[in-house]
């Protein structure tokens, strides 16, 4: 039932656009492919694949010559291809992204003490750049994405190592301090790179093959290496997110339940044994980490002040630019990790809940794009990106509400900061690319279609 409801929603929207597209004479009126149509895998240009199916399927079409002409025209003229792809970008989704960035702009304006100068202005410029990046990436076909996945992954790993080295040379890196020079935070890019890498791997390793656990070992290594590097920074928040992305992709790619059980069940026992082998001071460190309230002026200060800010917001908030906790600087990191607190303090529960709903819509929309993709690569990539976005939100909001220890994870698109913003926009670009090329059958192995 759920499936039919969601399907209907998406289907209608999709059909509407199809009709509109017909009105603009750019593409056919029906998506999907028809039985009997030759399953022609698109070679280089995945963007035209769908149209290829359409053309083949519409053999009885009386306007066939005209369509052939258009097809030739589109093939001959790359700008038209770009236009058609642009048309297929989910502009509603882009609008939602802009909405979230708008929320961020408003919140940063307030965090800057009622001025766009310190945070909101630069952030808006970054978002503009990110938007361009996103649309550009959205134009890239799956094949291109696959091609760049391995180098991107290797480079991100290398960057992580460099950061680790630099961090050791410099002073001990704090969890929420930006590491790696001025603007770049490689752990952010590692998330996207990992999602891309795993999607590439699993696009070659079909569901059927996955019953053999040997196929799972290389991707497991791909996940564990960046997780270990990030843990060593140490940045637990990002490590959890990277691990979460990996786990989600493994799960969605079709890891067998017995494999999952085999992995998950011994975990508590292993943890217990490991804990027993820890030194006392290490145990104490873990305890402090899990209970920051025991240190109200140190690590616990942020969370206590954050909770106070949230609580003082009430139902309707203290009014825009009138949140005392934020405006009087009681909130630490109010423009970065704790931006949500500023929003919830000034706009109240209504504002906070609205932001959560907006985030949920973006997450679920991304997941739907994943489901709607016709190729395994796209599905897994979109899922990875969506889970990444979800985990960002989850960790940040939990942290802000004092549910988990402070972890240096920003609220995507809202928090001030360049690396996270560009990483998220890059992710959305990939997601949009998957959506634009959703009908491409790239990477599907013929033997599985039987």
């Amino acid at each position: 039932m759920i499936r039919s409801i969601i399907g209907r929603c998406l289907g209608r929207r999709w059909r509407t656009r199809g009709n509109l597209a017909e009105g603009l004479s750019l593409e056919g009126n029906l998506g999907g492919h028809f039985p009997g149509a030759s399953p022609l895998p698109c070679a280089g240009d995945a963007g035209i694949c769908e149209r290829d199916f359409l053309m083949e399927g519409l053999a009885l079409d009386s306007r066939k010559p005209l369509r052939r002409f258009r097809k030739r025209l589109l093939r001959a003229e790359p700008s038209f291809r770009i236009l058609s792809k642009l048309w297929r970008v989910s502009w509603i989704y882009v609008l939602l992204i802009c909405g979230l960035a708008g929320v961020g702009y408003i919140a940063l304006y307030s965090a800057g003490g009622g001025s766009a100068k310190p945070f909101a202005g630069p952030q808006a410029m970054r978002f503009g750049f990110g938007l361009v990046l996103m649309i550009t990436v959205a134009m890239l076909p799956p094949k291109a994405l696959v091609r760049i996945s391995v180098p991107l992954y290797v480079v991100s790993l290398a960057l992580l190592v460099v950061v680790l080295r630099a961090g050791h040379v410099g002073k001990g890196a704090e969890r929420w301090v930006m590491i790696g020079g001025t603007q770049v935070q490689p752990s952010e890019y590692a998330k996207v790179a990992l999602a891309l890498m795993l999607a590439t791997w699993f696009s070659r390793v079909s569901y059927a093959r996955m019953s053999n656990p040997l196929w799972l070992i290389p991707p497991a290594v791909m996940v564990l290496v960046p997780v270990g590097l990030v843990l060593k920074e140490p940045n637990l928040g990002t490590a959890v997110i990277i691990g979460g992305i990996g786990a989600a992709i493994f799960f969605a790619a079709g890891m067998r339940l017995w494999q999952i059980a085999l992995l998950v069940l011994p975990l508590p026992m292993l943890a217990k044994i490991a804990y027993a082998h820890l030194h006392d001071y290490q145990k104490a460190r873990i305890t402090t980490f899990l209970h920051p309230e025991s240190d109200p002026l140190g690590a616990g200060y942020n969370i206590i002040q954050s909770k106070i800010a949230l609580g003082s917001g009430g139902m309707w908030g203290q009014g825009y630019l009138h949140g005392t906790q934020g405006q009087l600087n009681f909130l630490p990191e109010k423009q970065t990790d704790f931006i949500f607190t500023t929003i919830a303090e000034e706009w109240g529960y209504v504002g906070g809940a609205a932001v959560i709903v907006l985030l949920l819509i973006l997450i679920l929309g991304g997941m739907m794009m994943a489901i709607r993709s016709r190729n395994r690569f796209g599905r897994l990539l979109a899922l990875g990106i969506s889970v990444n976005f979800f985990l960002y939100c989850l960790v940040n909001l939990s942290m802000v509400m004092g549910a988990i220890p402070v972890g240096g994870v920003p609220l995507p698109l809202v928090s001030y900061g360049g690396s996270a913003m560009l990483n998220v926009m890059l992710g959305f670009g990939l997601l949009m690319s998957v959506w634009v090329h959703r009908n491409s059958r790239f990477g599907e192995e013929p033997d599985e279609q039987a």
Binding site: R3, S4, G7, G11, N29, G32, L58, L60, D61, S206, Y207, A208, A248, F251, A252, A253, G254, L297, Q305, K307, I308, A309, L310, G311, S312, G313, G314, M315, T324, Q325, L328, N329, F330, A344, Y349, G352, A353, I356, L360, I363, L364, M367, A370, I371, R372, R374, R376, R379, L380, L383, V387, F390, L394, L397, S398, M401, A403, E444, E448, Q449
Partner: protein
């Protein structure tokens, strides 16, 4: 659409459309890819998990913002507002002519609010790099920080210069919780002159803070002696408060509410600083005390107790050396001798015994006793100061000659209880209730009192008490009151506070004090006796005669032994008390009032170990009285004789 029309079969069309729809909704099936089906199911599961997770967060947000909103809102308010009490300026003390004797001086202070800095010790260290703190400051700081509540600022340094203040302000970011405050400190323009009566203030300690939170404010002083102590509540005033909005580092963003405190009341004294200065100059550095009273209404015009000390030293703390110097001085500079110094009154006690005798009805003014120079009781012999006696004396002569034997006899006849009763009525040996702390009541001994201390009272005790020796102890203030009461016949009470905030009570009125319930004739007899002491031939204090034409003074001398004169010393013949060590010499006392015909001022003078009252105290008292009479601008014009002399 053309291809559907060509198909032509409506049923097939419907079927195809439906199938197409199903395929669109469930795209997994059409792919024949089991992986996609699994993916869709699991992705939907993940979506459910994601929705649930964010829903939980929304729920938690609800708990934080709505369910516990009030609690957190309160915490937020506590975060942002900072309430500070404003110390009210301490009231001034002025003399009877409005001369300020205790004032407030501006004092720039650096304060530390311990709750606004996470590292108190570090802040203190950084501060001391800018403005040096010595060890005493540090130990005091440590004590104050331990004992005061965290929201009450503690004093880092006082009396900052402009230069130091500028340096502190420049370094403000590295000194969280440090604030500059303008406060006041107490200054005493006349220094030691009024130290005893006005007293001094000192920073409040923990016990004071327990009594009044106002005193917890830094820079609040509490009176520790004299009027500063007794009038402390009036002088203190009411604290104001200021509520400010502060940011996380304690910087004041806005002032939300301000209530100015009420300054302390201005206390107007009966003292005359000019007269006090004159008397002080006359006394010099003798250990002495002098009280000048308006005998009509009990206003104390001057209260000298020498030597004195500098009261302003107590505000900033007295050094150990200075303290040792004060406490080791035999002349007891720290004790206010006028109210806390008790002396045997000696012969100045005789008018009181005379009053008791007259009042008892057992002895009349005309009754005569024979003085052979000694008085025998049981086996003991009590000597008169005149070795060969005064012969037959009545009351008038007894007072004039200060005959001891007469008063031995009188005391023995009337008994100690009557003497005590009359003395108390005249203001001796009682608490006079003047506005000074630490006053001592003195003592008029009675058999009952002696019994209380498990001793038997015998006749000899009565005899020596009759001449103001033995256990009898009075203060100079009591002596002045005593003189005033004899002069007026009224129970005048000495007081120092004349006005509060310029409002003079009804105390100037001479009718204010009730008459003492004794026959005015008896008072007249005493006055005549005391007049004779000064003005008649063979009186004991001829040196005390006033030189102001037409104004006469009545008085009584006293030489109080502090040590028994042994028979051997007496019989050696050349006993001279002036050759004794200082601390064994008798005290010299004198009481007097003037003008005789219309008593206006009473003076008592006690010179510790000054030897003879007649030789040392009487001339000095006369000078003091002269000063007093000449100084009063009102009296100046109306002095009888003065106008005559001017006219002549």
């Amino acid at each position: 659409m053309p291809w559907r029309r060509a198909d032509g079969d409506a049923g097939l069309m419907r079927f195809r459309r439906k199938r197409e729809k199903i395929r669109r909704l469930m795209p997994a099936r059409e792919q024949k890819d089991p992986g996609r089906g699994v993916f869709t199911r699991r992705a939907l599961l993940l979506m459910a998990v994601q929705t649930a997770a964010l829903g939980t967060l929304g729920r938690r947000l609800y708990d934080l913002q709505i369910s516990n909103g009030d609690h957190f809102a309160k915490l937020a308010d506590r975060n942002r507002t900072s309430k500070r009490l404003l110390a009210p300026p301490r009231g001034l003390i002025v003399d009877r002519f409005g001369v300020v004797v205790a004032a407030n001086k501006t004092n720039w202070r650096a304060l530390l609010l311990p709750e606004e800095t996470t590292d108190v010790q570090g802040t203190i260290e950084r501060f001391s790099a800018i403005v040096p703190l010595d060890d005493r400051d540090r130990s005091r700081l440590g004590r104050e920080i331990r004992h005061k509540r965290k929201f009450v600022p503690v004093m880092l340094r006082e009396f900052l210069s402009w230069d130091e203040m500028a340096r502190i302000e420049v370094n403000a970011p590295s000194l969280p919780g440090v604030l500059i405050d303008v406060g006041t400190t107490r200054s005493y323009p006349f220094g030691p002159l009024l130290a005893h009566s006005v007293g001094y203030v000192a920073p409040s300690n923990e016990q004071d803070v327990a009594k009044s939170t106002l005193l917890a404010l830094p820079g609040m002083r509490i009176g520790r002696a004299g009027l500063e102590q007794s009038q402390d509540v009036l002088l203190r005033g009411q604290a104001g408060s200021v509520e400010m909005e502060v940011n996380a580092v304690g910087r004041v963003m806005a002032e939300l509410d301000r209530q100015e405190g009420t300054p302390g009341d201005e206390i107007g004294l009966t003292l005359d600083v000019g007269l006090q200065q004159t008397i002080q100059n006359r006394i010099g550095d003798m250990a002495a005390s002098a009280v000048v009273m308006d005998c009509r209404n009990g206003e104390v015009l001057a209260m000298c107790s020498t030597p004195s000390f500098d009261p302003s030293l107590f505000d900033s703390g007295v050094s150990r050396a200075q303290w040792a110097e004060w406490t080791n001085d035999q002349r007891t500079p720290l004790i206010d001798k006028t109210v806390a110094g008790v002396y045997p009154p000696g012969s100045t006690f005789k008018p009181a015994v005379a009053m008791a005798a007259l009042n008892s009805g057992l002895i009349s003014a005309t009754d005569r006793f024979f003085c052979p120079g000694h008085f025998d009781l049981g086996g003991a012999r009590f000597h008169c100061w005149a070795k060969h006696g005064h012969g037959s004396v009545d009351l008038h002569l007894a007072l004039k000659y200060s005959c001891d034997v007469y008063f031995y006899e009188a005391a023995l006849r009337i008994g100690m209880d009557r003497i005590a009763e009359a003395s108390h009525a005249l203001g001796l040996g009682t608490d006079l209730g003047i506005e000074l702390p630490h006053q001592r009541p003195g003592l008029i001994p009675t058999p009952e009192w002696r019994q209380k201390h498990k001793h038997h009272w015998n006749g000899g005790d009565t005899v020596v008490s009759g001449i103001g020796q033995g256990f009898v102890q009075v203060t100079p203030l009591q002596l002045a009151t005593y003189a005033s009461r004899i002069a007026t016949g009224r129970a005048v009470d000495p007081h120092l506070v004349r006005a509060v905030n310029g409002d003079i009570g009804g105390q100037v009125d001479p009718q204010h004090s009730p008459e003492i319930p004794m026959d005015p004739k008896y008072f007249q007899a005493l006055r005549e006796g005391m007049f004779a002491v000064v003005n008649e031939k063979h009186g004991t204090a001829p040196k005390a005669q006033l030189t102001i034409p037409g104004v006469q003074m009545a008085g009584k001398t006293g030489s109080a032994q502090v040590r028994r004169v042994s028979r051997a010393m007496r019989e050696s013949g050349h006993f001279n008390s002036a050759q004794l060590p200082w601390e064994y010499r008798p005290h010299a006392l004198f009481i007097c009032f003037a003008p005789y015909d219309a008593p206006r001022y009473a003076v008592s003078l006690v010179i510790e170990h000054g030897n003879a009252g007649a030789d040392v105290a009487a001339p000095l008292a006369r000078d003091i009285m002269t000063d007093t009479l000449l100084r009063d601008p009102v009296n100046h014009r109306t002095l009888p004789g003065q106008t005559v002399a001017d006219a002549g």
